[in-house]
Amino acid sequence: MTALAVRDLDKSFGGLRVTSRVSLAVEPGERRLIIGPNGAGKTTLFNLITGELAPDRGAITLFDRDITRVPSRRRPHLGIARTYQIITLFPRDTLLRNVTLSLLGLSSLRWNPLARLDGQRALIARAREVLERVALEHLADRPLGQTSYGERRRVEIAMALAQNPRVLLLDEPFAGLSIEERRDVLRLVTGIPRDVTIVMIEHDMDVALDFAERITVLHFGEVVIEGTRAEVVAHPRTREIYLGE
Amino acid sequence: MNVWVVLAVNSVTLGGLLFLLSAGFSLVFGLMKIPNLTHGSFFMLGAYLATSLIAAGFGFWTAAVVGGLLVALFGGIVERFILRRLAGAELAQVLVTLGLSFMVADVCLMVWTGDPIRIATPDGLRGATSVGGVGFPTYRLAVSLIAVVVAAALWALLDRTRLGAMIRAGVDDAEMARVTGIRVSRLFTIVFCLGAWLAGVAGVIGGPILSVYPGLDGEMLPLALVVVILGGSGSLLGSLVGSFVVGFLYNFGQAMFPELAYVVLFLPMLIVLVVRPQGLFGRPAV
């Protein structure tokens, strides 16, 4: 059983083919890295997997269950979580509230118009635990707007982890971070247990290579190389694609 | 049989007037992506200004042009000093135009009082002409002709001039236009003034038929809205077709279902908004 698989995925916008016959299969617990130059279609692929975009052709399966037709809002309930390249959190709310919202998304409590959200002790305790995992528990009551960029990146990851995903999609988690911050995030990511399958998009090769077990290289919407880290790094085409930048 | 002919010709007239009213609205909506809720006020203001100009001794056509220019000036000030400040916040811009419409309406009430004012039909266009054996006021037929002339002139502007090319580029994709070096904010001002001018002139032209009275703005604005939603924003052809469609809907609707007069108008608008948000002619929204 594969954790996440896409088969012959196609997506065009007008005349532009952004995703072209993309197939890949990620094993449970695997650490997969997706790389490729700008415009290669990496984030589009994520958007297709999470359902924010509908493919023109092809199929997506999650633990062998076909989710191609499942609406995007249901996919988190099935175990997919993702982070975004551009931070899309709730700036006026505290870190604790941000993570609580994430937890609430999968809970039937989210429809309750009578209970007091701040009184949900179990929920809030879990939110604190998640913040601990990303070493931000000390800032739990700080409004997001008053935290640093690096801290927000960690909150992004916390939001995704809060939903106990089976498959975690990280979209350029290191973007814009300082060296130290990258180290922190890398430690965070490598510390995630193996019952979570991780697929990461990254542009910055230094940090990402440490993380990857298998790598898929996208170029102009197509999969051009795929293999273990060693194989892909050694592949002449990889250098071509990147040196050509 | 005669009733239908009368209705049809009246619809054509109304359509012509609506085109004059809506063309500017459509351009502004297409380029700046906002429904200018002050547009009805521009229409009414133009008409009111003309009444004063005519009372001061100017001729009808002079009053129309000058009235239009004054409204255009006002529009320019609004765009340059208020709307431009809110660039990018379309919703805020819409609300501002709504607030301005209240202000203009009250100022008009203050200056010209609450009594309806008739604008006399210009010399040379008085009397009746025969169409299909029925006599129609010449002026009403003239209005349709004027609408066609204006449509042609606008088409020439959009299709044949550099300004027109810039406007079309802006309507298509304002961001891209900016990138290619078009001074989009200045274009906005120009088009807003043009829209205001057209509305003001339309108000004067409509004067002999509708008169001017408080509340005229509130009656014309929804009609312009319907025309543009049905015809698509930023589309000249759409405004033309939409205007005549609305003219027919309104007159025939009034005649056949007087109780549902407004429903007949707004229901199609609602349907289009809900089913095909870009109108019948416009481009699909991103």
Binding site: E52, L117, G176 | L95, L225, I229, L273
Partner: protein, 319 residues
């Protein structure tokens, strides 16, 4: 500290008829209260859900007209309330389904169209609505035999409903559902990705909003003993929106303050200032231009949010 203020306010409100100085002012106070309920209703959408509606006077009016018709049919006041509110809820649902086809500006335009259709029916479908002449009713409810005919008793009844509205709003705001609604305002895409059903959340918020608008409409009917197309005109919706934005959206106090300001201006100030509409428009313009926090929806706040100093260095969103 907050509790003391609230307590004092409550005492002040309850004892108002004794200190406010005359029946005229008691009536003004009643108006402020039910318009505040209306504003609170509109704010559920505009402030908490980020959806600006310029057609809510339509729902307000539907409740009033429905109430008037039922009462005219000889039914009791309880029936009136039930049917009027049920009707309003049904129309709110219809409005919601149609309006939610659009977002942002599209949503506004659709609500305008809907409001205009209601107005058109009120104005022209004379056989049902009596057109411009409006519908008159006689009598107010007499719950438990207590007459509401006098300004004072009507005021206290309205105050009771108002307090219920505020309390239920406060509960809603503090609830998980309330947080969900605000989430869809701030980051709809994110909420969707977190497993929320954004459409359904908005739809339910619309129903809540419509319900309270309907309640306000009924109170309006009983207060005036009359309803006319003017109550559902675009200006009425605009005034409701003005109440919401002038007091500050996304708070409970905001719409209440806004209702207070607008009603006072309209009734009291218009005795001194003839040009009420000019002032209304000017306030609208000033607030929107200078105090964008008085106006919530995504565009303005988003513009500020994305322009803060910490923009991520890696900027390409395409990959």
């Amino acid at each position: 500290m907050k509790r003391i203020a609230l307590g004092a306010a409550l005492v002040g409100l309850v004892t108002l008829p004794t200190w406010v100085g005359g029946t005229y002012y008691v009536n003004i106070a009643s108006q402020i209260l039910f318009y505040a309920i209306f504003a609170l209703g509109v704010n559920v959408l505009a402030g908490y859900a980020g959806l600006v509606s310029l057609g809510h006077a339509g729902l307000f009016g539907i409740a009033a007209y429905a109430g008037a018709k039922i009462l005219g049919g000889g039914h009791g006041h309880l029936m009136v309330a039930l049917v009027a509110l049920a009707t309003t809820l049904i129309f709110s649902a219809v409005f919601a389904v149609l309006a939610l086809r659009g977002t942002g500006l599209g949503f506004v335009m659709i609500t305008v169209a809907l409001g205009q259709i209601v107005w058109g029916v009120a104005y022209r479908w004379i056989s049902i609505t009596n057109g411009d002449n409006g519908v008159t009713i006689t009598g107010r409810p007499a719950p438990f035999g207590l007459s509401l005919a006098s300004p004072r008793s009507f005021y206290w009844a309205t105050l009771l409903v108002f307090l219920l509205a505020v309390a239920s709003m406060a509960v809603f705001v503090a609830s998980p559902f309330g947080a969900s609604v605000r989430g869809t305002r701030d980051q709809p895409r994110r909420m969707n990705a977190l497993g929320y059903n954004v459409w359904m959340i908005r739809f339910l918020a619309f129903l809540l909003s419509g319900f309270w608008s309907g309640v306000a409409g009924l109170l309006f009917l009983y207060y005036n003993q009359f309803v006319s197309p003017q109550a559902v005109a675009l200006t009425a919706s605009a005034e409701a929106l003005l109440m919401v934005i002038s007091g500050g959206t996304a708070t409970l106090l905001g719409p209440i303050t806004g209702a207070f300001l607008v009603v006072i201006m309209k009734n009291v100030a218009s005795a001194y200032i003839e040009r009420w509409n000019f002032v209304l428009g000017a306030i609208f313009v000033l607030i929107v231009v200078f105090m964008p926090e008085g106006l919530v929806p995504g565009t303005v706040r988003l513009a500020r949010w994305t322009s803060t100093a910490w923009r991520p260095r890696a900027v390409q969103p395409t990959a």
